[in-house]
C-alpha cells in the first residue's frame, strides 16, 4: 500500500503531462475525432459494391414486339442505364473505350428463332477487367432476363419450368446492402490508424529529444511511463470510437443488433492492441521519421487487405490465412460485423476477444523489452 500510493501519484503526474501535450498540439485531437468523422463520412457515402445504373449497350438488329418487351425491361430496371446502338461494331468500340460495361446483343435472327421454338441466342459481352463487377452485372442481366422469360412464355401460353428453383435466404443482411458490412469494417480500419497514429510517435519523440532518458533517471518506473502514455490516448481513442459507432448507426443506418456494451468492451480491447502496436513502432524506430515511415507501411494497407473487411479470409491460401492472425484488425472486423448485423454471438465474441488480449500482451511485453534494451 505504501508503495502503491506514490506510484499512483507519479502516474497521475505523467498523465497530466501527456494530456497537456495533447491539448497543446491539436493534431492528436484531430487524429481522434476529425480523422474518423471525415473518413467515415467519405467512405460511408462513397464506398459501395452495389452496382447501380450500369451503362449497358443494347444492340437490336431487327426490332419486333418480343425484342421491345425485353429491352423495355432493361429500361425499367434500376440496375441499368441502357444505351441504344445500331450495330455491334459501334457498341464494341464503346466497350473498348469503357463507355459501357457490357453489351446485350439481339441478332437479326432472334425473333425468328424465338418463334420457331428456339432457343434464340442472346449475346452478352462484358468488360471483364474488374471480374467482381462483371460477375455482379452478369447476375443482374440474368435476373432481368429470367423474369422476362417467364412472363414472355406465359404470354405465349407456355410455361417455363426450371428443374431446380433456388430460393435464396441471405441472413443478417437480406437486402444485401453493402454499406451494412463496409461501415463496420471501415471502423476497424480507421481505429487501427487512430491507435497507431496516436502513439507511434510519442515515445520516439521523447527518445529523439532526450527527455526519455531524463524521465528514466527519475523514480518513475518504465511501467508507469508506458501507462502514462497509454491512458490519455486510450481515452481519446474511445472518444473516436463512440463517434464512429454513432455515425454508423444514425448516419448510415447500419442496424446494431447486438448490445452496445459488448461492442464498446471489444472496442476497448482492440484499441489497447492498436495503441500497443503504435508504442511498439515508436520503440523500435530510433526517431520520429522512421516511426512515421513504419506507421504508414505497417498499419493501413495490412488492416485494409488482410483483415477480412473486404476480401474473404477463408478464400486466401493457407499461409496467408496464417499471416492474418497477427493483424489485430482481423479479430475486430469479425466482432464488429457480427455484433452489428447478427447480434451477440458469444462464441465469435469470446474467441476474438481472447486473441485481442493476447496481442495486447505481446505488444506491451515487446515494448518493455525493447525499452530496457535501449538503455544499455
Amino acid at each position: 500500500m505504501r508503495r502503491g500510493m506514490p506510484g499512483w501519484r507519479r502516474l497521475k503526474g505523467l498523465i497530466r503531462k501527456e494530456s497537456y501535450q495533447i491539448i497543446r498540439d491539436p493534431s492528436s485531437i484531430a487524429i481522434a475525432f476529425v480523422l474518423p468523422a471525415v473518413l467515415l463520412f467519405i467512405f460511408g457515402y462513397g464506398v459501395s459494391l452495389d452496382a447501380k445504373n450500369v451503362p449497358l449497350a443494347l444492340v437490336v438488329e431487327q426490332p419486333s414486339p418480343a425484342t421491345a418487351s425485353l429491352t423495355g425491361d432493361f429500361q425499367d430496371s434500376q440496375w441499368f442505364e441502357p444505351k441504344h446502338f445500331n450495330d455491334i461494331h459501334a457498341a464494341q468500340e464503346a466497350l473498348r473505350h469503357r463507355k459501357v460495361m457490357g453489351i446485350l446483343w439481339l441478332r437479326s435472327n432472334f425473333t425468328r428463332e424465338l418463334f420457331s421454338g428456339g432457343p434464340a441466342p442472346i449475346g452478352l459481352f462484358l468488360n471483364g477487367v474488374d471480374g467482381n463487377t462483371a460477375r455482379i452485372v452478369a447476375g443482374y442481366v440474368q435476373g432481368v432476363w429470367g423474369k422476362w422469360l417467364v412472363r414472355y412464355a406465359q404470354s405465349q401460353g407456355r410455361e417455363v419450368i426450371l428443374p431446380v428453383n433456388v430460393e435464396q435466404r441471405i441472413w443478417f443482411n437480406p437486402e444485401v446492402r453493402s454499406t451494412n458490412f463496409l461501415v463496420p469494417g471501415l471502423i476497424a480500419v480507421i481505429m487501427t490508424l487512430i491507435g497507431a497514429l496516436l502513439t507511434s510517435m510519442v515515445v520516439a519523440r521523447e527518445w529523439e529529444r532526450g527527455t526519455m532518458e531524463a524521465l528514466l533517471v527519475t523514480p518513475v518506473r518504465l511501467r508507469e511511463i508506458l501507462l502514462g502514455k497509454l491512458i490519455p490516448y486510450f481515452v481519446l481513442g474511445m472518444g473516436g470510437q463512440i463517434l464512429s459507432v454513432a455515425m454508423a448507426v444514425w448516419l448510415f443506418e447500419v442496424p446494431l443488433r447486438g448490445s452496445l456494451w459488448v461492442l464498446m468492451g471489444v472496442s476497448a480491447l482492440f484499441l489497447l492492441a492498436a495503441l500497443g502496436m503504435g508504442l511498439l513502432i515508436s520503440t523500435v524506430a530510433h526517431n520520429q521519421f522512421v516511426a512515421g515511415q513504419l506507421a504508414i507501411f505497417t498499419t493501413f494497407l495490412p488492416a485494409f487487405i488482410l483483415s477480412g473487411f473486404i476480401f474473404d479470409i477463408g478464400s486466401m491460401p493457407g499461409w496467408v490465412q496464417a499471416i492474418t492472425h497477427v493483424i489485430a484488425a482481423r479479430y475486430f472486423v469479425q466482432v464488429l460485423q457480427s455484433v452489428f448485423l447478427a447480434g451477440d454471438v458469444w462464441p465469435v465474441i469470446l474467441v476474438n476477444s481472447v486473441a485481442l488480449v493476447i496481442m495486447t500482451a505481446v505488444f506491451m511485453g515487446l515494448v518493455r523489452l525493447r525499452s530496457r534494451k535501449r538503455l544499455e
Binding site: 498540439d25 493534431s27 480523422l35 473518413l39 467519405i42 467512405f43 457515402y45 459501395s48 452496382a51 447501380k52 450500369v54 466497350l95 473498348r96 424465338l114 421454338g117 428456339g118 432457343p119 441466342p121 442472346i122 449475346g123 462484358l126 471483364g128 477487367v129 474488374d130 471480374g131 467482381n132 460477375r135 442481366v141 432476363w145 412464355a153 426450371l162 428443374p163 431446380v164 428453383n165 433456388v166 430460393e167 441471405i170 441472413w171 443478417f172 443482411n173 444485401v176 453493402s178 451494412n180 497514429l197 512515421g292 515511415q293 513504419l294 504508414i296 507501411f297 488482410l306 473486404i310 476480401f311 474473404d312 477463408g314 478464400s315 496467408v320 499471416i323 460485423q337 457480427s338 454471438v345
Partner: protein, 369 residues
C-alpha cells in the same frame, strides 16, 4: 546550379538510407506486402465451408449435391440432421452457407415440377454472399441443363450466352494485382517525401537551408528527386515481379506504362511535399499523409468501383492521382491499351503534379511558423 541540386539530392538520400532501420523500412515492407497482398486480395471464393441438410432420399438431390462436392469453390464441412442445427452453424461462422433440400425434391422433379432448393447464406459480408450466390446459380444451372437433357424437358425459348473480354475467367486477381502496383508505388512515394520537410522544420535545419544561395525551386527539386528515383525503382521492381511471379499478362507497351508511372510518381511526390510543407511537426505531417493516403486508396477504384459512388464523391476522386494510374496500369496490362487511348488519363496527373509542387515550393518560404 546543377551541382547545388545534386549536393542536396545526395544529402536527402543519406538521410533516407543512412541508418539500417530506415533502409529496411523502405525496402522490406513493400516487397513483403506485394507478395502477401497479391495472394490475399481477391474477391474469388475458394473452399467455402458449407453444410447440407438433406431430407430427400432421392437421386436428384444426390446428383445435385455431387455437383457441389465436385466444385473447388466449396468444401463440405457438416451434414446436418435437423433444422435446429442450421442457425448455430451459420451464426457461429462455422459455415458460410447451408443447402436445405426438402423431402419432395426428387418426387417433384420426376413428376415434371420444379424442385425447391433453399440456400441460406451468411450475409455479414454481403459481397461474399453475392459472389457465392453467383457460384451457386452457375452450379444449379449446369445441373438443370443436364437434368433437362436426360429427362426430356423442353428447353427455354431463349438462352443467354455470356462472353467476357480481357479477363475471360473473371479472375479478380488479374484486376487486383496491377492495382497493388499502384497502391505500393503511392505508399513508397509518400513515405519518402511526406515527413522530409517537416523533419527539417522541426530540427531547425530548414531555416538554414533557406538562407543558403539555394533557390526554393532548387530545394524543391532536391527534395523531389529522391522520391521520384526511389519510387521509379521500386515501381519497376514491383511491375517486374507482377509479370514474372504472378503471371498477370502484360499486353501493352512499357512506354505507355512508364509514362503513366512517371507522371503518377511526380504527382504523388508533389502531394507528399505539399503535406510536408504545410505541417509544422512530423506528427502533423504523418496525420496529413494518412488523411490523404486512406481516402486516396479507398476512393481509387482499387477494390470498389468508382461508378458505384455518388456523383459528389465521384467528382472528388478527380483530384486523386491514384484513380488515373490504376486505370492506366490495368488497361496496359489486361487490355493492351496504347498511349493515345490513355491520353485523358495522363494530363490530369501532370496537372496535379505541377500544382502541388508549386504550392509546396511557395510554402517553403511563406510558411515560417
Amino acid at each position: 546550379m546543377f551541382r547545388r541540386i545534386w549536393a542536396l539530392v545526395v544529402k536527402e538520400f543519406m538521410a533516407l538510407l543512412k541508418d539500417k532501420t530506415s533502409r529496411m523500412t523502405l525496402i522490406i515492407p513493400p516487397l513483403f506486402q506485394l507478395f502477401i497482398f497479391s495472394y490475399a486480395a481477391s474477391f474469388d471464393l475458394n473452399q467455402v465451408n458449407y453444410a447440407v441438410y438433406n431430407q430427400d432420399p432421392g437421386i436428384a438431390s444426390r446428383e445435385l449435391l455431387g455437383y457441389f462436392k465436385g466444385s473447388p469453390a466449396f468444401k463440405l464441412t457438416a451434414t446436418l440432421d435437423h433444422l435446429g442445427q442450421v442457425a448455430p452453424a451459420v451464426n457461429e461462422q462455422k459455415v458460410l452457407m447451408v443447402l436445405n433440400i426438402p423431402q419432395d425434391f426428387t418426387r417433384n422433379m420426376l413428376e415434371g415440377r420444379s424442385g425447391q432448393l433453399q440456400v441460406i447464406i451468411d450475409g455479414r459480408n454481403s459481397n461474399t454472399a453475392m459472389v457465392l450466390l453467383g457460384y451457386i446459380n452457375t452450379i444449379v444451372t449446369s445441373f438443370s441443363t443436364q437434368w433437362s437433357k436426360d429427362h426430356g424437358w423442353a428447353s427455354p425459348p431463349t438462352e443467354l450466352k455470356v462472353r467476357t473480354w480481357f479477363n475471360p475467367n473473371l479472375e479478380s486477381r488479374w484486376f487486383i494485382v496491377p492495382g497493388i502496383v499502384g497502391l505500393l508505388t503511392l505508399v513508397v512515394a509518400l513515405v519518402v517525401t511526406a515527413l522530409s520537410v517537416a523533419r527539417e522544420r522541426e530540427a531547425g535545419t530548414f531555416d538554414q537551408l533557406l538562407v543558403t544561395p539555394l533557390h526554393p525551386a532548387e530545394i524543391l527539386i532536391g527534395k523531389a528527386l529522391p522520391g521520384i528515383i526511389i519510387g521509379l525503382a521500386e515501381g519497376s521492381l514491383i511491375v517486374f515481379l507482377t509479370v514474372n511471379m504472378f503471371g498477370v499478362p502484360m499486353l501493352g507497351g512499357l512506354g505507355a506504362l512508364y509514362l503513366g508511372m512517371g507522371l503518377f510518381i511526380v504527382s504523388a511526390v508533389g502531394l507528399g511535399l505539399m503535406i510536408s510543407s504545410i505541417a509544422v511537426t512530423q506528427q502533423q505531417a504523418l496525420l496529413g499523409a494518412f488523411l490523404f493516403l486512406v481516402p486516396a486508396v479507398i476512393l481509387s477504384g482499387f477494390a470498389t468501383p468508382i461508378a458505384n459512388m455518388p456523383e459528389l464523391v465521384q467528382n472528388l476522386t478527380l483530384l486523386n492521382p491514384l484513380r488515373y494510374f490504376l486505370v492506366i496500369v490495368r488497361s496496359v496490362f489486361l487490355e493492351g491499351a496504347e498511349m493515345s487511348l490513355l491520353l485523358p488519363l495522363y494530363w490530369p496527373m501532370a496537372v496535379i503534379g505541377v500544382v502541388t509542387m508549386v504550392i509546396a515550393g511557395w510554402l517553403f518560404r511563406n510558411r515560417l511558423y
